[in-house]
């Protein structure tokens, strides 16, 4: 069966992409499975200059999920191009580069540099909840999303994906702003801002106090948001949030996504990406779908 999907200038052999921030640059998981089995990879969020990230503890376990506050620890865009692209190009794998910055200039500088690099798409991270400046500040309002998307669009020669935060009153407003400002695609959801407390120490578990919630716990919120956004925008949607298997992924596709990203579940089960693609295929066989794109938005209402 053909699981390929083709949207926003991206050609994926299957609709399952490794989600940014959960998969590094692919090296670690390549010891556990053949990365050629992935539909694509969205690499760890990059900034113009290297970042150290937040102090530990950076993770707290919560029911059905985790809070993280890594804080964009990364080697910077230049080291990525020099050291990680050659590694990733050993695989037949579209490379989506997730970028974050403090200022519109940061985003533009990275988009310009990456437009000349051997990559397949740029994912604008305007939704990281774990850094003090920029990023989520832009993503929290339609005006902020418009501003960043529009300036990056001018210099970006690659397909442009805008990754949306769920930490807003109405995600369709930021999605529409991204579309109107030139995004080729939106991906959602980034993590939900959360907090966990150690009641014995009477202190937050995370050194950064708050962090981003991901994992199965967020899935219903994510499906709902993908559904709402699909009603309001015409550009394709990459859905994510708590996907652990093919059935979960099919929910996102039916809600309106053209592809999905899977991340946190891989910490527990490194086979989750391959199994999710297989699960989508099994569902399609069972229900007589010939192409993944037939599933997108095929919700019976």
């Amino acid at each position: 069966m053909n699981l390929s999907v083709n949207f926003a200038g991206l050609k994926l052999k299957n609709p399952v992409i490794a989600a940014s921030g959960t998969f590094g640059f692919g090296r670690e998981f390549s010891n556990f499975f053949d990365l050629n089995r992935l539909g694509g990879i969205s690499v760890k969020g990059l900034t113009l200059e290297p970042r150290k990230g937040n102090p530990p503890p950076r993770i707290a376990e919560t029911p059905g999920g985790i809070l993280n506050s890594v804080g964009l620890q990364n080697p910077g865009v230049h080291a990525f191009i020099r050291e990680e692209i050659p590694f990733l190009r050993q695989f037949d794998l579209p490379i989506i580069v997730n970028i974050a910055g403090n200022t519109p200039e940061d985003y533009c500088a990275m988009a310009e540099i990456l437009s000349e690099a051997d990559i397949d798409a740029i994912e604008l991270n305007v939704s990281c909840p774990n850094v003090k400046k920029g990023c989520l500040l832009f993503g929290s309002t339609p005006e902020g999303v418009s501003e960043i998307t529009a300036v990056v669009r001018k210099v970006c020669k690659k397909p442009l994906i805008v990754k949306l935060t769920p930490n807003v009153t109405d995600i369709t407003q930021t999605a529409k702003a991204a579309e109107a400002s030139g995004a080729d695609c939106v991906s959602l959801i980034n993590t939900l801002l959360g907090m966990a407390i150690d009641i014995e120490k009477r202190k937050p578990i995370l050194a950064n106090t708050m962090g981003g919630l991901s994992g199965p716990a967020v899935k219903p919120v994510a499906v709902r948001m993908v559904y709402q956004v699909s009603k309001e925008v015409k550009i394709p949607i990459i859905g994510m949030g708590g996907i652990s298997n093919g059935e979960d992924a099919v929910e996102f596709l039916l809600a309106g996504a053209s592809a999905v990203m899977v991340g946190t579940a891989g910490f527990v089960n490194p086979g989750v990406w391959v199994e999710t693609a297989e699960g989508i295929e099994a569902y399609m066989k069972k229900h007589g779908f010939g192409k993944v794109s037939e599933l997108t938005g095929a919700l019976q209402e």
Partner: protein, 257 residues
């Protein structure tokens, strides 16, 4: 992806401390002292993440691996309910182990609480001239695997926080006194951070080779998610290394406590 192992034995070593003996050729054939396995405590959403547990002993002939843990939360509490014959999903071995000593060298290990388990594995795999073990426990009842340490080490010093057995107080006191008189070739430490800090600092000052095994809350256990950060020297600056992939064993001089 299958990381299944079969549980051959479970044993309560002391109050809250449990041993599980896994049968796994995959782990037994590759493991080195200092490494850990990342185990799944439930299939469900309760205790969602895997739990990193250090390897305490490996029997290569019988392909068994002993792991020891403290029941101190949701995940480890679920682990306590596993029994002989059950299947346990254990990824690994993961992480970097200790640098084993050379034949003629003299080594010391300094362990506290549940930090003593990887040190037992290290001692049993170290075929060198002289091995001294300094172990600290809260109280007499918390002392575990004393016979095993006694068999493998030429000298064993035990301290208890409450003085109910051995030296009264922290294990760092007898270790530091010993270090004034002796000059070991290598020192290894695993346990509470304040203990390791004292050991590491003393060894670095004296120019003695020292490795310590760090602990931090982990996500993936393989170096992809970057959550188990640990502060290390980077020239005049610092950076965050990751306990699961860059450690858990680090050269003492690299760490910033």
């Amino acid at each position: 992806m299958n990381f299944d192992t079969i549980i051959r034995k479970t044993e309560k070593l002391s109050e809250g401390i449990y041993l599980i003996r896994l049968h796994s050729a995959r782990i037994a054939s590759k493991a080195v002292p200092g490494q850990f396995v990342n185990v799944r405590c439930s299939d469900g959403l309760n205790a969602y993440l895997r739990r990193p547990i250090s390897i305490c002993r490996v029997d290569r002939k019988n392909n068994t691996v002993d792991i020891v843990f403290m029941n101190r939360g949701k995940g480890t509490n679920l682990l306590c309910s596993f029994a002989q014959g059950d299947t346990l999903d254990a990824m690994g071995p993961l992480g970097n182990g200790f640098t084993l000593p050379k034949e003629k060298e003299r080594i010391a290990v300094v362990g506290g609480g549940i930090g003593v388990f990887p040190l037992l594995y290290l001692l049993e795999e170290s075929h060198c001239a002289c091995k001294t073990a300094f172990l600290g426990f809260r109280t007499k009842e918390a002392i575990v695997l004393q016979d095993a340490f006694h068999r493998t080490a030429q000298k064993l010093v035990i301290a208890t926080d409450d003085g109910s057995y051995g030296t009264n107080g922290l294990i760092t006191a007898p270790f530091m006194a010993w270090l004034e008189a002796e000059r070991p070739d290598r020192v290894y430490s695993c346990g509470p951070a304040p203990m390791m800090k004292i050991v590491a600092r003393a060894c670095v000052q004296k120019g003695i080779f020292c490795e310590v095994s760090m602990e931090q809350r982990m996500g993936c256990g393989i170096g992809a998610c970057l959550v188990c950060a640990c502060k290390v020297q980077d020239g005049d600056d610092y950076q965050y290394a990751h306990v699961c992939k860059d450690g858990p064993v680090f050269p003492a001089e690299r760490l910033i406590f």
